[in-house]
């Protein structure tokens, strides 16, 4: 177990170091941020002065070493545009994104899992044929469009939910549905496949032969075994949700990291964009690590197999 954990952790560290380097190179490839920060009419001397003061005139290698050293100290710097520390800006936005991700996951799992189980158990029946298209429609609609439809319906026509902001719990409803609908069908399909596969196995037949109720077999045995792919997908979907949040948060003016990303790119806030990309990659790596750990909790055979290798 310890060896399994250690190897995964080492892989995670290597990934993060690689990502940090890529982020640095990409950000500096796209040119000198100084040009973006000065007003249009600035003279050559103005630009040179600001460049020197921001330290962008130093050799790239020096800037890279400086950047890694700050990262090691967990120092993300101070936003050149907002003049506030990047960490505090991120911290003020993170809770909203977590809230939205939780809301979206609730919608996605709350609808996707039951639909998948029902579709698996009643495979080939009318119930499945009715349910699956419904979740597929949810996944097929791009969020920038479904979000606006939701606003037109719930905010403009029915006038029951606010179109934007983060003033009360009611503000969270529409963004969660718009974002959650994306992952719903994925969860439903993966669950269905898992359930169908498990239902054909010997232990199910043995259970049935013993006279155990179908409901009990499905809920107590099949679901547990069918949940492994669902966990993997859930970890990957959380990363997708974070990416999807960029659009959803913009449409609903939800003050999370996605909206911050769009604002910072538009506002030319170099260091915040850099920190956001790092945070997103870090989250991805952490979620994958978490998924690996969860497998071994759900199915101890995985650890044993890895240990034997």
């Amino acid at each position: 177990m310890a060896r399994f954990l250690l190897s995964r952790a080492v892989q995670a560290v290597v990934s993060i170091l690689g990502v940090s380097t890529i982020v640095f190179v990409v950000m500096h490839l796209s040119g000198d941020p100084t040009l973006l920060l000065v007003p249009e009419g600035a003279s050559r001397e103005d630009v040179a002065l600001l460049r020197r003061q921001l330290g962008f005139d130093r050799p790239l290698a020096v800037q890279y070493a400086d950047y890694l050293a700050s990262l090691a100290r967990l120092d993300l710097g101070t936003s050149l545009v907002q003049r506030v520390s990047v960490a505090s800006i991120l911290a003020s936005r993170l809770p909203y994104t977590l809230l939205l991700a939780a809301g979206a996951l609730t919608v996605a799992l709350g609808i996707g899992l039951p639909v998948g189980v029902i579709a698996g158990v009643w495979r080939g029946t009318l119930v499945e044929k009715l349910l699956m298209p419904v979740v597929l429609v949810g996944q097929s609609m791009p969020t920038f469009w479904s979000g606006i439809l939701l606003i037109l319906l719930c905010a403009v026509t029915l006038d029951v939910l606010p179109a934007s902001g983060a003033d009360s719990w009611s503000s969270l409803v529409m963004p969660s549905i718009a974002l959650g609908a994306l992952s719903m069908a994925t969860f439903a399909r993966v669950t269905r496949t898992g359930v169908v596969e498990e239902l054909g196995k010997d232990y199910v037949r043995a259970g049935r032969a013993k006279g155990v109720a179908t409901a009990s077999i499905v809920l107590r045995h099949v679901l547990r075994n069918a949940s492994i792919p669902v966990i993997t997908i859930a970890a990957l979907e959380v990363a997708n949700l974070l990416a999807g949040a960029v659009i959803v948060e913009t449409v609903f003016a939800w003050p999370g990291l996605g909206q911050l990303a769009v604002q910072s790119i538009a506002g030319r806030d170099f260091l915040i964009v850099q920190a956001l990309v790092l945070l997103a990659s870090f989250t991805c790596v952490a979620l994958n690590l978490l998924a690996d750990l969860l497998y071994s909790v759900v199915d101890p055979r995985i650890t044993r197999l890895a240990g034997a290798r």
């Binding site: 941020p33 249009e40 600001l50 506030v84 939910l161 983060a166």
Partner: protein, 497 residues
């Protein structure tokens, strides 16, 4: 079944009572901005979303009235002692929100703060002609410039006066998130990513502010801003595109407010490199573009064709130059004379520019036999190339220029003076005209130099003006307000009808 329907209906009723409404009587003005203010420290950022908010918290040294004329604010009068020394009389009856009086020391310190290179203000280049600020009496300030600088007052329109004592006490970072000034509204709170709330400063020296509370919401998506306006959650929204404005025309409870700004949409043409090095090719390009069609079809009429690279909202705008009327046969003839039929020209652009305009112009130039290759990159790369060497800058590119000073000096000097970053053009006669225009304070002389400069530009065509940009707002019909050419957003100027 019916039970479920009833249940849903009741649930809907309960929910509908929950959301917080913005209007709350007529005491509150709720404004939707497309972006979050970057800073509320008026000496740092000056993007539109930031100054829409902070210009209501602070007073400026001088200001512009709704007609665009420079009028007193904190300075009640001013005169030039010499070509390089401006003396301003400062009001002594103004108080900051914390009750302390605004003094000449605060004015002097505000100038010193924004011009201190170590403070790294992005606005530095607008004020760094001021080399010295000093008090010359209890209500008098002397500003010395390095050379005569005619646009000085136009720049001082943007100088907010901050409290020396308060900024020193709380420090720059805290001042930025909890600003305190002397303006009509005092700062209440800033929920990051959501809204900034201001409340009326009842003792304001220019009179009682029109609304008790003003809130500025961050709503990036245009469709969402429109939904908020339609449902009454906001009273005025900023930055609509012409299509959105057209779709709101039929709404009886709303109004579209638009104003020609000092921003010019223009086409840069490289006069130092490539096929466009030949002036006949540049003139052909100028003849090939149908400005009226661009304005009507792509800007929905929210723009006005210009024949020089400046708007009538700027000082230095000269009448009587006819520019290059739309004339494709003439364009083709010029290209034939230059032997440039079928010549390939590169059109550099970035996502910051309207791609419909880029494609329309490409089409118009291809109609007269030029081959136009559009090359799109990210904005930093675009700027690096556009501001780099002539051979790297491409043949043409689109731009939208505003100096926020409403003066020709802030437009054609940085664009075309041969030493400037943007210029891919060199003509000593032009350099001489624009340099002389910035060395004298006499308006008639300056106009004479600008007439000369624009006449040279018309001959040489290192770029052409396409249209004067309009700012578009939408508001509830009851709101009375006239937007201004410099896109100021003074809540003091608004009221309910």
């Amino acid at each position: 079944m019916w039970r479920i329907a009833w249940g849903l209906a009741i649930w809907g009723l309960v929910l509908s009572s929950l959301p917080a409404r913005a209007q709350g009587g007529k005491e509150t003005l709720s404004v939707d901005l497309p972006g979050e203010p970057a800073t509320l420290d008026p000496h740092v950022q000056w993007d539109t979303d930031s100054y829409h908010v902070y210009r209501n918290i602070f007073d400026n040294l001088v200001t512009r009235n709704p007609d665009g004329k420079i009028v007193p604010q904190i300075a009640k009068a001013w005169r030039y002692e010499s070509d390089t020394v401006l003396v301003l009389d400062i009001r002594t009856d103004v108080k900051f929100h914390d009750g302390t009086p605004l003094t000449v020391d605060d004015v002097v310190w505000s100038v010193q703060r924004i011009t201190d290179p170590a403070f790294k203000s992005p606005q530095l280049s607008q004020f760094n002609s001021i080399v010295k600020a000093e008090a010359s009496g209890p209500d008098r300030v002397r500003l010395t410039t390095s050379s005569p600088y005619p646009a000085l007052l136009a720049q001082l329109v943007k100088l907010s006066i901050v409290s020396h004592a308060y900024v020193q006490k709380v420090g720059n970072e805290k001042f930025n998130i909890e600003p305190m000034g002397s303006g009509p509204y005092r700062f209440v709170g800033w929920q990051k990513g959501v809204r900034v709330t201001l409340t009326a400063n009842d003792g304001y020296w220019r009179g009682r502010p029109p609304f008790k509370t003003v809130t500025f919401q961050v709503v990036p998506d245009t469709a969402t801003r429109i939904a908020n306006l339609k449902t009454g959650r906001s009273d005025i929204i900023r930055q609509l595109n012409p299509d959105d404005a057209a779709s709101l025309k039929g709404e009886s409870r709303l109004q579209i407010l638009s104003i020609p700004t000092e921003r010019t949409g223009y086409l840069f043409i490289n006069a130092l490199y490539g096929p466009t090095k030949d002036v006949r090719v540049r003139r052909a390009i100028a003849h090939a573009i149908n400005r009226q069609l661009l304005v009507d079809a792509l800007l929905g009429g929210y723009g006005r064709p210009v024949s020089i690279l400046l708007t009538p909202a700027n000082f230095g705008y000269v009448e009587g130059l006819k520019g290059y009327p739309f004339d494709p046969p003439r364009a083709r003839q010029l290209l034939k004379e230059a032997g440039a039929e079928g010549a390939e020209i590169s059109f550099y652009t970035s996502p910051a520019y309207d791609q419909r305009l880029v494609q329309a112009i490409q089409q118009m130039l291809q109609e007269v036999s030029l081959k136009v290759a559009i090359s799109q990159t990210d904005q930093p790369t675009f700027l690096k190339r556009r501001q780099g060497k002539p051979e790297e800058a491409g043949s043409i590119s689109l731009g939208r220029w505003s100096c926020a000073c409403q003066d020709a000096d802030g437009v054609i000097f940085p664009l075309f003076q041969s030493q400037s970053l943007w210029a891919k053009y060199a003509n000593p006669a032009f350099d001489d005209a624009v340099t002389r225009a910035r060395q004298t304070l006499k308006e008639e002389d300056r106009l004479k130099h600008y007439r000369e400069a624009f006449a040279i530009l018309e001959q040489d065509v290192p770029g052409i003006g396409l249209y004067q940009d309009f700012a578009i707002y939408a508001a509830r019909r009851e709101l009375s307000w006239k937007p201004t050419a410099n896109e100021a957003f003074f809540v003091m100027e608004m009221k309910w009808q």
